[in-house]
Symmetry: C2
Subunit: 240 residues, 2 copies
């Protein structure tokens, strides 16, 4: 009997990757508009390379971009990048299609909801609060706050302890086969792979840990309905 649904945040509830791409493109365009003497493709590809080397949370993308392009440090151009990046993030932050509808449906079904996510706690909460999603969730478990990262079993065990449920009473939904699906399955949770975004064809060696695969989050309530009605049937049988 499923009682709790756990969600990953980025690219499962919130459309993070698409937003980051838009934000980066707008940043480059605004830098060019304010005098960056490089064409769009050159600058954008350099930025992507830089991000893949230094990570997406590196705080000096635009300064380093100028260095990589052999340009003099110019705070005006950096500011132009920062402004466009933030404006885009604030204006276009969106939940993934059908997320709100699916969450409402799950609440109607009497399910308790949680989030298990990696990342900077303040930045993760910013996304949740900006989208007004917080009232749906009883707890948000963030790895950088707990000191342990997905797929480590401890982060999943912490979530189970907070919700006071057993693993088999829960289902984990996420876009990452490794950190979300493999991680949750190791502690005995049911698992739903949300096949979306840049990880839709990656980490496939962990696909065997996914009980279900969905491409639309609205398939989730149906899966749980089936799981829970199978369970009540079993109980009926057992009681005979």
């Amino acid at each position: 009997m499923i009682k709790v649904v756990f969600f990953d945040l980025d690219d499962t509830l919130v459309d993070t990757t698409k937003l980051a791409e838009m934000a980066r493109k707008n940043a480059i365009e605004n830098m060019i508009r304010h005098g960056l003497p490089v064409d769009f493709d050159t600058a954008y590809n350099e930025l992507l390379e830089l991000i893949s080397e230094y990570g997406s949370n590196f705080p000096h993308h635009f300064d380093y971009l100028l260095r990589r392009l052999d340009l003099k440090y110019n705070p005006k151009l950096v500011a132009a990048g920062v402004i466009a990046y933030h404006n885009t993030k604030f204006a276009h932050l969106k939940e993934i299609r059908h997320v709100r509808k699916a969450l409402l449906k799950l609440k109607e079904m009497g399910l308790r909801l949680g989030i298990i996510t990696d990342g900077n706690p303040i930045k993760q909460w910013e996304k949740i609060l900006r989208l007004d999603l917080d009232d749906f969730f009883e707890h948000v478990v963030i790895s950088d706050f707990e000191g342990v990262k997905k797929p480590h079993p401890k982060i999943y065990q912490k979530a189970l302890k907070i919700f006071k449920v057993n693993a088999e009473e829960t289902i984990m939904v996420g876009d990452r086969l490794y950190s979300d699906i493999y991680g949750a399955k190791r502690v005995g949770m049911h698992t739903v792979w949300f096949r979306y975004g840049k990880y839709a064809n990656r980490e496939l060696e962990y696909r065997k840990y996914a009980d279900y695969e969905i491409k639309d989050i609205l398939e989730l309530p149906e899966i749980i309905e089936v799981l829970n009605s199978a369970h009540s049937n079993k109980k009926v049988h057992a009681n005979r």
Copy 2:
């Protein structure tokens, strides 16, 4: 003959202090809305104390606020503060009354304009670009970029060098008697004290370095008109 007008940025062109006050108040209100268990006045006064101790550019105001209030660390509340703070700053960033009108008038008079400001170069450029003020100014001289701070003569001398003018051909306008007025006068610039905001009654020991005092930035073109016509009269007299 005045050829160049230099402006300070914060509280001379941009209404920084008022904006920061609004942003901080909204941050506290949003934290309370999301569960901060303290009344507004207690939290706001604690925040002001914290800022006066740690400085306004300290990046952990809202974390430290929780500590000072003996509350457990809570990234949700910090995020609520950060969101409201940034939303306010982005939505309400404004130039001071009559600034755009005065800048246009000065341009019509054929004057060249510059900014001499302290602070983080990217943050200062963010304000200038967000307000679309950049086209008015030939150069923006920022102390953290030059490695020397107002009122040190070097920052003013750098500005003169960049504009290729002598000190007596320039006039410096700022809200701070110490860093703007005393600093500019030491290198021989004309000085206009913009008596506005939280420094309107402070650092009065440097008042003697102000050639003029104004409370409305629109008085500035008139002052320069008078200065320059006196100069041409003098020249006429000298030529006789």
